[in-house]
Amino acid sequence: MITRSLWGLLLFAFAVLSPAAQAQSGGELHFCLHGEPKTFNPVLVDDEAAEQIRYLTGGVLIRLNRQTQAVEPGLAASWEISHDRRTIAFHLRKGLRFSDGTPFTSEDAAYTIKLMMDPQTHSPTGDAFRSGEGTVDVKTPSPEVVIITFPAAIAGLDQLFDQVAVMSAHSPKKEMAVLGPFFVAEYKAGSYVLLQKNPNYWKHDAQGNSLPYLDSIRMDIQRNREIELVRFRKGELQLINRLDAEQFERLRQNDPGVARNAGTGLDAEELWFNQVPSAPLPEYKKAWFRNTEFRRAISAAINRDDLCRIVYSGYAKPAYGPVSPANHFWFNSALEKPTYDPKNALALLTRAGFRYEKEMLKDAAGNRVEFNLVTNSGNASREKMAVMIQQDLSQLGIKVNVVTLDFPSLIERMTRTFDYDSCLLGLVNTDLDPDSQMTVWLSSGENHQWNPNQKTPGTAWEAEIDKLMREQASAPADKERKAKFDRVQQIVAEQAPFIYLINKDVLVAVSSSVVGTAPVVLSPQAFWNAETLRLTSGTALGAQK
């Protein structure tokens, strides 16, 4: 009996002293933005800082849950998409108000859509909705219903609304009146952005308490990641949204509890060969780069495990293909894991007519296989990878000249002069849906890097990818779209126009004073659930000031 009482007492003490129990509403969360927000107008957002502010302040009709990667009702309690994927009808929640007290109605949703789709606005958010020629029809049959009809089918239509923060049609505060959990209270250019709790926010927790729990969020504008880390370690900041592998490892060694790995991310590092027919390269080189077996051999000769272990301290995974396993729905799990196999690489090259003699690889005409690998200067990880690839390929007798160029020179070569052999760069993925990668996969796309802006597909497999991408975009069911995009991934793995190298882990830092964090791979990784974050009592009382 006494033992049971003691256990009870201990459990009670634990419950009282645990961080979750000590957490309370209120307080100010501090973290950094890595650049100046260029706008607070949600339809004009085009940079990471502004996007993070939009996420924290904007109310959206449909929200993509960053953890489950599924869409959830936001300002719209429900919605229907027509079979032709051109029309979406939203049924809005009743009785909601903007941060300044202005009532929210279907007129506001209609106003936002019209503004976003107006060509005069030049809205980057609107670009994703421009599916075809013609105008967008927006109807508001009642204050709670808005029906939007696009001129052509849009794939992943519901997910796209995650980026559309609804603006008030009538508020005198214009874009500063918001429907999200916070509103912009103060902004000092080059210094900080202060967000305060939106008193009219519509969400409540399971106990009926109003959200968000925090009173405010102060985001200091700080580009220098080292200073950010120092400030975090001093306790001046409570979150770091993205860390590189070296910073993360350093933090993990000193304070394992605060370094959090959210797992493999969406971003990939990749290498490609220049296959542009008009490129100012010798014909024999163009023939190598167009040869699928040559590209596959290069892929097999690169030791991706070493890249992950040495360059990223183990905080990366070998990349399978264009979609990271972090993209739960669209990743093709049937793809074979890339394996490091120099013998197979040499066999592929021999089959393609190359021969290895006197520690040199030569083509059938006797030309030594030598090419340049360009990447952008200033990216230490990428430069290390290039040097490791250089050594891997030297084992096959291939000479690689690593060249680092400043970014404008690199872009000039990639997009205009095409004067390069191969390139190593990273692909930043912010959207889960493959429709956002149309310009990469369509042979006519400007981001179809190995041979962009083609009038007609140069190869049969590119023609097949074009067809599949167009079909998936107009397919009515996600299952059908997935089957078609799986085939695209399969073709890319077989033809290796991009040689995918690694997917980096998403690494964040979260102070023990923040309760409720659950870092994810989608942006904003560390504070996607800001409305339910709480600070422990000492911090909440303003100890950080």
Partner: protein, 271 residues
């Protein structure tokens, strides 16, 4: 021997030893500067790797030696090039005076006003990509030599102006000595200490400039080492904190620059 002379001799001996070790690096170490021992990245000093290894597992001792060859052979070459340009144009400008001096000084000022980094960026972008790392490093130092003359020129020009108004040149002119002979036999020998000083000062300057360029990814191409790209590995202080031996190239660079500075007065005295 006075303490200062002893110090200078020590510095000179250190520089000579380093120079020779760099020149005959292949005989000093059996490791290649490019081979990656991937099982041992950031290894601490041991009998296998005297200075340890870098982040990719390359032997740091071999890289320092080969980097010394690159930096200590090519930096003096670049310094010589810029000193010759500065010497020829500076001495003529100072001696001749008038519109010629104005033109040369204006050209020097214009060159100094050019943002060197952007000029190098543009020139690097114009170079073909498939060039050997050795060619790339030679080109880098030639560019440094060709672009680094204006500062030295102003010093040489000022020294030459002083000589133009000196009594012995007045005497030489009065005796009917031809202008060519005055320049070759009187002006240039008297500019020797200035030119030597400029040459010695320029060497550490070029070593540091190459280091800066490499820090920006514009200098010597991988896998060829130079002191510059060895210093790049120290961008992240945590690396140095965790692997203090990785700072050896930095220590070496500091000692070399100090050594050059310390032996400089000796040259002036000799002259």
């Amino acid at each position: 021997m006075s303490p200062s002379k002893l110090l200078r001799s020590t510095c000179a001996a250190f520089l000579c030893t380093l120079f020779l070790a760099g020149l005959f690096a292949g005989g000093v170490t059996h490791y290649s500067y490019a081979t990656q021992f991937r099982e041992a990245p950031n290894a601490s000093p041991s009998t296998a790797h005297v200075f340890g290894t870098d982040g990719l597992g390359r032997d740091l001792f071999a890289r320092v030696l080969y980097g010394t060859r690159v930096s200590l052979v090519l930096a003096p070459a670049a310094a010589l090039l810029s000193t010759i340009i500065a010497g020829v144009f500076g001495s003529f400008a100072g001696f001749m005076g008038g519109w010629f001096e104005t033109l040369i000084l204006a050209t020097a000022d214009l060159s100094m006003a050019l943002p060197l980094l952007f000029v190098l960026l543009a020139l690097r972008a114009l170079l073909p990509l498939n060039i050997d790392p050795i060619v790339s490093v030679v080109v880098t130092f030639i560019l440094l030599g060709l672009l680094g003359w204006p500062a030295s020129l102003r010093v040489v020009c000022a020294a030459s102006q002083n000589l133009r108004n000196s009594d012995f040149l007045l005497l030489a002119r009065a005796t009917g000595c031809p202008r060519r002979r005055i320049i070759l036999r009187h002006v240039l020998p008297n500019l020797r200490p200035v030119l030597l000083a400029q040459f010695w000062i320029s060497i550490p300057l070029y070593v540091l400039t190459e280091a800066t360029l490499s820090m920006l990814g514009l200098g010597v191409m991988e896998p060829l080492p130079s002191w510059g790209n060895l210093l790049r590995g120290l961008e992240d202080f945590s690396v140095v904190h965790a692997n203090p031996w990785r700072a050896l190239p930095l220590v070496l660079l500091v000692v070399v620059v100090i050594s050059f500075q310390l032996i400089l007065p000796a040259q002036e005295e000799i002259a």
